[in-house]
């Protein structure tokens, strides 16, 4: 609950004011039946019209007062809850933006997104509810019971009995429904999965001609959903009328008992009428309280998830040395295991060195640690042992932000953002002029942008232009190129390009004036061949390091890769 406490502290005054208003509002609501009974008892029954006016005016005043409190409460509640919501969202998002990679690995992106969207909404809804309705129901309920008791203690015993019975009914219905609802949830998930898989694999279905099967699969899931849905809702459908019946019978009993008491001059018709109204109010509040429990349970889960995010670690702080870097990279006996993984090192005792301006290709099968090298260079994680040096400086001593300013990366998945093509490319250098942006695009063979309707102003993103995977990759490369940093990393960034285009990009980059240290991470031998040096990784260990010719001669793994990719395999059969 510390989460709420933090924000409540900020807005404690309006929050308390809202609570005060809710309480007052509830009190006003509760007075109504009493005043009503007075109108009847002292006015109509006694044929005293002045009494009717007297109590009538009071009733109006109370109602009006209640409405004022309600409106004030509404405005306060809305302002505070939405303001709190906005603050929570902002703080949570800021926390995530400054997350360390370790934290991102711990809580996956999909979950982070859900927490930012659904869970915050849930919490906001709960806070909103507290200030609007949630407090009112228990107050009204308890208040009604108390007032009924004050009005006529004997009759109120009947109310206690009724409340007890209704409460039991509600608990029974909740207990029976919950497990059924989880069955229903699973059935929903199943239908979702079937449809989702169908949509993704529709080509397959049409090619294999398996329509009949898919129909049967869906039929199973669908009818299951129907049955579990009916089962889940059946409980409340049957119990709800019973609850109403209970209240109805209780009313009858109250009137009868009231008549006995009336005969003994222990109750008046006005009392009895008021009682019927109190009972209706109690019923409504009890149902509302059930809803509150539902929401509370769900909110508890959301709160825990949000708190987990706040407790995660942030990225490395920027407070190190700032030195000009040229791009000489050295790995010295580097060992690293992902903090949230299985403990098996992704990189084992890796050592290599390339000079500033040289190109290095890192090749190896999946899971061999290639991308890890890039993330370590960017200091997304700290290594377990060994050293990573740039121009002789240990990257742990360098200022993190400064370090990252000196490294540009084009990742495996392009990761572009909503905005124009030019805006995306400018991520590399927000002060670049149009000329520089064009030049970067040209180097990355992204001249298709000129052929687009709005050119560099074309909007990328949902609702914007749809571009192919290869085109995205080229824009991502242009973005990295624009940064013009001493170190440039291409992580399998040309996988969607055909070989001719890829070759051109490579030539363009190498042919640039500024000699960048180029690291190309790839699976393709045809890409790696052209680098000054090739680092062959296998299971996180260095399996070979040298030029293409040297490796063909000395490294069996490299030879294997080359043969598999470049030579005909008919002979191998």
């Amino acid at each position: 609950m510390n989460l709420y406490y933090r924000y409540f502290r900020k807005y404690w005054l309006p929050f308390l004011a809202a609570i005060f208003c809710v309480t007052s509002e509830a009190v006003c609501d509760l007075l109504a039946p009493t005043l009503m009974s007075n109108i009847i008892n002292m006015g109509i029954a006694e044929q005293q019209i002045s009494q009717v006016y007297y109590w009538g005016v009071r009733m109006l005043l109370v109602t009006f007062l209640g409405a004022c409190f309600a409106v004030a409460r509404n405005i306060l509640a809305s302002k505070v809850s939405q303001r709190m919501g906005a603050d929570l969202r902002y703080d949570l998002f800021e926390k995530i933006i400054y997350f360390s990679e370790q934290s991102v690995d711990k809580i996956e992106s999909g979950s982070l997104i859900t927490r930012m969207t659904n869970d915050t909404s849930q919490v906001i809804m709960f806070v909103n509810g507290i200030m609007r309705i949630f407090l009112k129901a228990p107050i009204t309920c308890i208040g009604s019971i108390v007032l009924a008791g004050l009005l006529n203690f004997r009759l109120s015993l009947i109310i206690y009995g009724m409340v007890a019975i209704v409460a039991i009914l509600i608990i029974i219905s909740m207990k029976l429904s919950y497990p059924r609802y989880s069955v229903f949830q699973k059935a929903m998930d199943r239908v979702n999965t079937v449809v989702q898989e169908y949509l993704i694999g529709v080509r397959l279905v049409k090619a294999f001609g398996t329509c009949q099967q898919e129909n049967e699969k869906f039929e199973n899931a669908n009818s299951n959903l129907m049955q579990s849905g009916i089962a889940a809702q059946m409980i409340i459908t049957l119990i709800s009328p019973v609850i109403t019946l209970t209240v109805g019978f209780a009313t009858v009993i109250v009137i009868y008992a009231g008549s006995r008491l009336f005969a003994m001059e222990l109750a008046s018709p006005g009392d009895i009428t008021a009682f019927t109204v109190y009972m209706a109010q109690i019923l409504t509040s009890l149902v509302m309280i059930t809803n509150i429990f539902n929401v509370f349970v769900r909110t508890k889960a959301s709160t825990a998830r949000i708190r987990e995010v706040f407790e995660c670690e942030g990225d490395f702080a920027g407070n190190g040395v700032i030195k000009e870097l040229n791009g000489r990279i050295e790995f010295e006996n580097v060992t690293f295991a992902y903090p949230n993984g299985s403990g098996v090192p992704a990189i084992k005792d890796l050592s290599f060195c390339i000079e500033s301006g040289q190109s290095l290709a890192i090749i190896g099968p999946t899971g061999s640690g290639k991308s890890t090298v890039a993330w370590l260079l960017l200091r997304f994680y700290d290594i377990n042992s060994g050293k990573i040096l740039i121009d002789g400086y240990d990257i742990r001593d360098l200022d993190v932000e400064h370090l990252r300013r000196n490294i540009a990366v084009a990742p495996q998945k392009p990761m572009l953002f909503s905005g124009s093509v030019a805006e995306n490319i400018r991520w590399g250098n927000r002060n670049a002029d149009d000329e520089m942006v064009r030049e970067a695009a040209a180097t990355a063979q992204a001249d298709f942008v000129d052929r687009m309707k709005d050119g560099f102003d074309s909007f990328l993103g949902s609702g914007g232009v749809n571009i192919s995977g290869g085109q995205k990759q080229r824009i991502s490369i242009a973005r990295a190129l624009l940064k013009n940093s001493p170190i440039l990393i291409l992580d399998d960034a040309t996988s969607a390009l055909d070989s001719i285009t890829e070759a051109k990009v490579r030539e363009n980059i190498i042919g640039r004036k500024r000699k960048q240290t180029l690291i190309i991470i790839t699976q393709r031998c045809s890409t790696a061949m052209f680098a000054d040096r090739i680092l062959v990784l296998n299971n996180g260990e260095k399996a070979g390091f040298g030029t293409h010719q040297q490796l063909l001669r000395d490294c069996e793994i490299y030879r294997d890769i080359y043969r598999t990719q470049m030579e005909s395999s008919r002979e191998a059969l």
Partner: protein, 616 residues
């Protein structure tokens, strides 16, 4: 970005449960407006009519229940008449008589309420079930173009959310509507019978409630609409920055992102605060009106009872009716909005049901028994959107059993050739023939049996490995499945898994590597044993051993089978019987590897750029 890639990024809206406490603020949430409200409504009514008898029964029961509920306050009032105030005694017989009636009415209501509740519950769920079933069956008949031009998320939303909306909203709303209207009419009838003046007093609430609802509804609707818009933008920012967090860090964009977020966040705050404030006026003010009418009724009733001796019971009755009156009115007002949005949802559902299907088989459609796999393209021209031509006059003849590799730049037309062959689309002009029969003359079901496919996206579905391999041939025995797995070089790793062939696989790749999934997909194709194989080679991450396995598996698969490969690996291309070089929608070069290399044309250039003159 990357939303439409078939894969884990696509966020599917799931069927959700109805959110509780939807009254109040939610009622004024804007639905999209339906375009043809009346027509859609008629159609929905027709669908409901399939359960005509049950619905009719439910309606009658609801009506009965409302009428009963209306009577109860009347009898309660009568019960109070038994209280003789002057003497302080009670006419017990009369009282008991009335109380008995009230108890019986309550019991009747309970019975009716339970039965009609169950009926409506069952009918709503059956309706949803049927609509979903029809939607799914319809989807099977839709052409590929339908799926390619819509986001998965949108289609999913229609099958799940929109259908849900129709059922839950309309079922409950209709019964609520009926019971509200009947309650109003019934109450009105009783009140009129009792006392005209007091009835008039109570009726004063109608114009008040109407004006109030109108004013508040329009204001809050516009604020809610804005809230939804801002929420959409904010969620977009959240999603893309979390998914692209590595780049945000690598390019040092944190502050820019936070600035962007703050702007939208504040806008959202403003619109949602206003929306809540405005919609929150409703209940308190309704309450005021309620109690105002109550008080005025009490005053009037009091005066009348004093001046004209109207029994206390009557006044009490009126007071309880006056409390009852405002609620149905409010409910009806809110219903209007929810029905609108349900209709809008229904329209989206009907849009799918009305979509154009794949052309049906012609009357004399033939069946292809024992297809050999000879493929001919004759002057085929095609464009996806009928403006930009993708294939221009493509013609070729492939003999049965030949392996053909299609190479070319991205977007040159390789996938299109294969899509047309499988009749995902029909060409704009020209013919495609299999075994000398035009594919348009064949039954679709028969045509589809000719193909096995291994695509870039392996598309396994949730089920065991055995089920997945068996997918295209349900009648295959376990031995046949294992045999196919052995040929596909998948058997070895499968038996090493903890549950072997019964290992559960899901659509989202978690427990198997990409390479392993590919092998299973190949096994599936092997089992299918169709005369034509379509292979879209994945360039994805596989380790060398698995890569070798895949290559050998593919070679076995392609033996004696007409195969069309969209190839990326040089080694696969070199092994093909024939290579078609496609550029700008035309086949510009064709021949085997040696002859094309000797030509020193486009193919030669591609190979050189890959190998740097080192090709054997």
């Amino acid at each position: 970005m990357g939303r439409n890639t078939a894969g884990t990024e696509a966020k599917m809206p799931a069927i959700g449960m109805a959110r509780p406490g939807g009254g109040g603020a939610g009622r004024f949430a804007p639905g999209t407006k339906p375009k043809n409200a009346k027509g859609t409504l008629m159609r929905i009514v027709k669908i409901y009519m399939r359960w005509g008898k049950s619905i009719f029964l439910a309606m009658i029961l609801t009506a009965a229940s409302s009428l009963i509920s209306v009577q109860i306050p009347y009898f309660v009032g009568k019960a109070f008449d038994a209280f003789e105030l002057e003497s302080g005694t009670v006419d017990t017989e009369m009282l008991l008589g009335h109380l008995l009636v009230i108890a019986v009415l309550h019991a009747a209501n309970w019975l009716i309420g339970s039965v009609s509740g169950v009926i409506i519950l069952k009918v709503s769920h059956k309706l949803v079930y049927t609509l979903r079933k029809e939607l799914f069956e319809k989807m099977q008949r839709l052409p590929l173009g339908f799926f390619d031009t819509r986001s998965h998320g949108d289609t999913m939303s229609r099958i799940t959310n929109d259908v849900d909306n129709i059922s839950s909203t309309i079922a409950q709303t209709t019964t609520q509507l009926i019971s509200s209207i009947l309650t109003l009419i019934g109450s009105l009838a009783v009140m009129l019978r009792l006392n005209l003046t007091l009835t008039f007093v109570v009726l004063m609430c109608i114009p008040l409630v109407t004006i109030l609802t109108r004013v508040i509804a329009s204001r809050s609707r516009s604020y809610f609409s804005e809230q939804q818009k801002n929420l959409g933008v904010l969620n977009g920012i959240i999603e893309e920055n979390i998914l692209g967090l590595k780049m945000v860090k690598a390019f040092g964009r944190q502050q820019d992102v936070m600035k962007q977020f703050r702007e939208v966040n504040e806008k959202l705050n403003e619109s949602s605060t206003n929306a809540h404030i405005w919609s929150g006026y409703l209940m308190p003010l309704l309450n005021v009106i309620n109690n105002l009418i109550f008080t005025v009724t009490a005053i009037a009733g009091g005066i009348l009872s004093i001046r004209r001796n109207i029994p206390v019971g009557t006044v009490v009755t009126f007071l309880s009716y006056s409390k009852q009156f405002a609620h149905p009115l409010n409910a009806v007002a809110g219903m209007f909005n929810t029905i609108q949005s349900a209709l809008a949802g229904a329209e989206r559902v009907f849009e799918i049901l009305d979509s154009e299907e794949e052309p049906a088989d012609p009357e004399n459609a033939e069946s292809l028994d024992n297809p050999k796999g000879e493929v001919v393209f004759e002057n085929v021209c095609f464009s996806y959107n009928k403006t930009v031509p993708v294939l221009k006059n493509v013609s070729f003849r492939v003999k049965a059993g030949e392996t053909v590799a299609l190479v070319g730049e991205t977007g040159a037309g390789k996938t299109t050739v294969v899509s047309l062959l499988m009749r995902y689309y029909d060409p704009d002009s020209g013919r495609i023939l299999i075994d000398n029969k035009p594919i348009t003359d064949l039954k679709r079901s028969s045509l589809r049996k000719c193909f096995s496919v291994v695509l870039q996206d392996t598309c396994l579905f949730t089920g065991t490995i055995m089920d997945n391999i068996r997918y295209a041939r349900q009648d295959a025995t376990d031995e046949e499945v294992i045999r196919a797995a052995k040929i596909a070089r998948a058997h070895d790793f499968i038996i090493r898994l903890p549950n072997g062939y019964n290992t559960m696989v899901s659509g989202a790749a978690d427990n198997l590597s990409q390479g392993q999934r590919q092998l299973i997909a190949i096994a599936r194709a092997v089992l299918c044993d169709s005369p034509v194989l379509i292979l879209d080679e994945a360039t994805s991450s596989v380790d060398t051993k698995t890569e070798k396995d895949i290559q050998r598996a593919l070679l076995s698969l392609m033996k004696d089978r007409t195969s069309f490969l969209i190839a990326h690996r040089l080694s696969t291309i070199m092994d093909a019987d024939r290579i078609f070089v496609i550029s700008d929608g035309r086949i510009v070069e064709s021949g085997n590897h040696e002859s094309l290399m000797n030509r020193k044309g486009l193919y030669y250039q591609m190979v050189i750029s890959q190998t740097g003159n080192m090709a054997s």
